[in-house]
Amino acid sequence: MIRMFGYLAWRSAYNRTARQARHLRSPRYVAALLLGLAYLWFVVLAQRPAPAADLADPRWLELVGALALLGAVAWGWIFGVERRVLAFSPAEVTFLFSGPVSRRGLIQFKLLRTQLLILFNALLWTLILSRERFGVSPWLRVISIWMLLTTLSFHRLGASFVRTSLAEHGRLGVRHRVVSLVVLGVVLVALTWSIGEALPRFAGADARTPIGFLSALGEAAAQPLPTALTYPFRVMIRPLTAHSVSDWLQALWPALILLVLHYIWVVRSDTAFEEAAAALSLQHAQALSERPAGRQVRWAGRRVSAPLIRLAPEGWPAGAILWKNLVAVTRTQRLRNVGLALAVGGVVVTALSFEPEGTLAEIAGWFAVTWAGAMTVIGPQWVRNDLRGDLLKLDMLRSYPLRGGSVVIAEVGASALVLTAIQLSLLVIGYLAFLGNQSMEPSLQDRTLLLVAAFAFLPGINLLGMIIQNGAALLYPAWVRLGSGRPAGVEALGQNMLMMLVFVALLGVTLLPPVAIGGGVFLLLHGIVSRWAAIPATTLVLGIMAFEAALLVNWLGGVFERTDPAAAGIG
């Protein structure tokens, strides 16, 4: 049976790659490949190893890594891991579920299929991290990363089984999953208690510097309960940070045992799997018949909310596409949750900011501001209610009486608007969090100016970011994942990271002219009109960004009009 699964997984992956490679007959794809390889060479491989003095302390790496993993795993358990992790393709449902294959066999197939992606991403991570000098050798690092990603992937799958079993079967599901739930309950209580115990350590002034913060973190994590909580995650990280082969071998065994324990946990979950995966995969198959690479539709019996914005029958025709994409956002569970979290967070933070200590509000404030900044690079990959989702319906889009440029601007405008709204909400939360802090630098007046600047610049930056992302989908539809879903989870972390690095480089190139010219004008005029120089500089920056956006939209509109759905492999 394993040989049959191996054949299916291997041949599917091989044929998919061969199909993508066939596009290299087009000069456009060849150029992209060469640019990508050159980028990898200059940015990753040709770099000298970081000097020894810059080496990060392995203890900090282990601690921060373990806490990050703990946070990610806890998040998955509390807020739900992606249910797609369980889903099979319609063909797999048809052939495997009705065939003489045991449920345990299906899980093994699922694990095997994920392995190809994990191996690819382990290699990518090894490349990305090749400049850093922690770890032993590239080959051992590949093995360490593979073990880490595989363990996390197994954990994600196991968590999916438990959560789905509970959601589908309520009390009966609780009885089936009692051991997992007891362990989870104990861990969550211990985690909450540990966070409560640790908070006072961060209240002191020392903890406001990065080094002080790390020291406080180290002290908090060294307590018995946090040590026990982070132990499995330290075990997963240790082979990565080992300095010698003997250290590595010593760290390998506990990590391997953890991996095997996860494997047993997942493979023994076949009852839960039977309950969960079959129904879910059939739902998925139904959703796929609706949209080839889309997310699941889980609306049966649920009342559909009225759209927030009314669509007038007349006006800019492409406005219909913008409206349609915004309506989709309000009806997507994940983004509705984000909206709810932002609203609640805003109210709580504002209330806490006027407390005498205000520490909690400030932690939340830093979190919000950091996330707002990170969203500039993560957001355009995450918010995808644009051409990346609609290109699968290219036939329909092309039959509409619209110019290509109108379609492109309406599509990218929707996702840029959503991303900007999320970022500005986070920044407002950050602003409110420090409202009660009179001694903080920058001053309240400067913070207000920074917030106003964010309102001015973020829409343009996000529009350019979305144009880059959509441009990639339009120019390379055979190589870019289409549909609202994207490769997610730890298995695909490496390729997402690489895509993000390429995106950041392109965004940087696009922002260089407006920033350089606007900055130059500001410096030139600052001596004459002081801070009022910001007004012409800002106007110039926005004008250049608008000009760049118009040029790119016009060009991509032409590409849209010339794209043959069949030749591009999406018709």
Partner: protein, 247 residues
């Protein structure tokens, strides 16, 4: 004046000619049936006329507008309904119609929606999302979206796919009603009894070339050797699969 004018249409994929040397016209009130075996070039032809595929050569005019030079006006006069309904996951049935109304600038979209929903038997599903609809209902919604702006040219690719017998009867009536109202209709189908029943003329394609064009009677009359055999027999003979008829 013809609504659909195709002259010297050719579409190449690399060296492979999907369609070549295709010329025909469809006037108001006409229903042209596009028939042929799998891979004959029916879908390529319909999608080229809908402006989805860019032809390698030839000209296409819709309601007098050249599709290559003035694509927006040409597309505003047509509706394309694919064999697989492509619907938006998060728009309800009624919202799909409002969406299309805005795209085509239909000022009285509110007044038109109830009648269309009634005609397509979708009134009770007006607040449902596509995920809650059956395959046939999705197809009906796609058809309703195509009919909303009362196009002068109606292009349907396998329009009866997924419909139940009642749906098929309604669909045939809808097509004939639109043609009677002056629309030029062009449909592709494998169902020969359908094309025989509702099409005023047939265009038979084989490997991208026209092998017969005219009314059913004209096509049969051109082959006196086949005597009074059925359209199916004539079709199989035209595409060189006559032995199939003997089975």
């Amino acid at each position: 004046m013809p609504v659909i004018e195709v002259e010297g249409l050719q579409k190449l994929y690399g060296d492979f000619p999907a369609v070549q040397g295709l010329s025909f016209q469809v006037g108001p009130g006409e229903v042209l049936g596009l028939v042929g075996p799998n891979g004959a070039g029916k879908t390529t032809t319909i999608r080229s006329i809908a402006g989805i595929i860019i032809p390698s050569a030839g000209t296409i005019r819709i309601a007098g507008h050249d599709l290559a030079r003035d694509p927006v006006r040409a597309k505003a006069a047509l509706a394309f309904i694919p064999d697989e309904p492509h619907l938006f996951e998060y728009l309800t049935v009624e919202e799909h119609l409002r969406f299309v109304g805005r795209l085509y600038g239909v000022a009285d979209v509110r007044q038109r929606i109830p009648g269309l929903l009634e005609e397509m038997d979708l009134t009770e599903k007006r607040a449902s999302l596509p995920g809650e609809l059956s395959r046939g209902m999705k197809q009906k919604l796609a058809i309703a979206c195509g009919l909303l702006h009362e196009p002068q040219a109606l292009l349907l690719d396998e329009p009866l796919t997924g419909l139940d017998p009642v749906g098929i009867r309604r669909m045939k009536a809808t097509i004939m009603r639109r043609a009677a109202a002056g629309a030029a209709v062009m449909l592709s189908s494998h169902l020969l009894h359908l094309v025989e029943e509702i099409c005023t003329r047939l265009l038979v394609l084989q490997r991208g070339r026209v092998v017969a064009f005219g009314t059913t009677a004209e096509i049969i009359a051109r082959r006196p050797d086949l005597g009074s055999r059925s359209l199916e027999d004539v079709f199989l003979d035209l595409i060189g699969q006559d032995e199939g008829a003997e089975l």
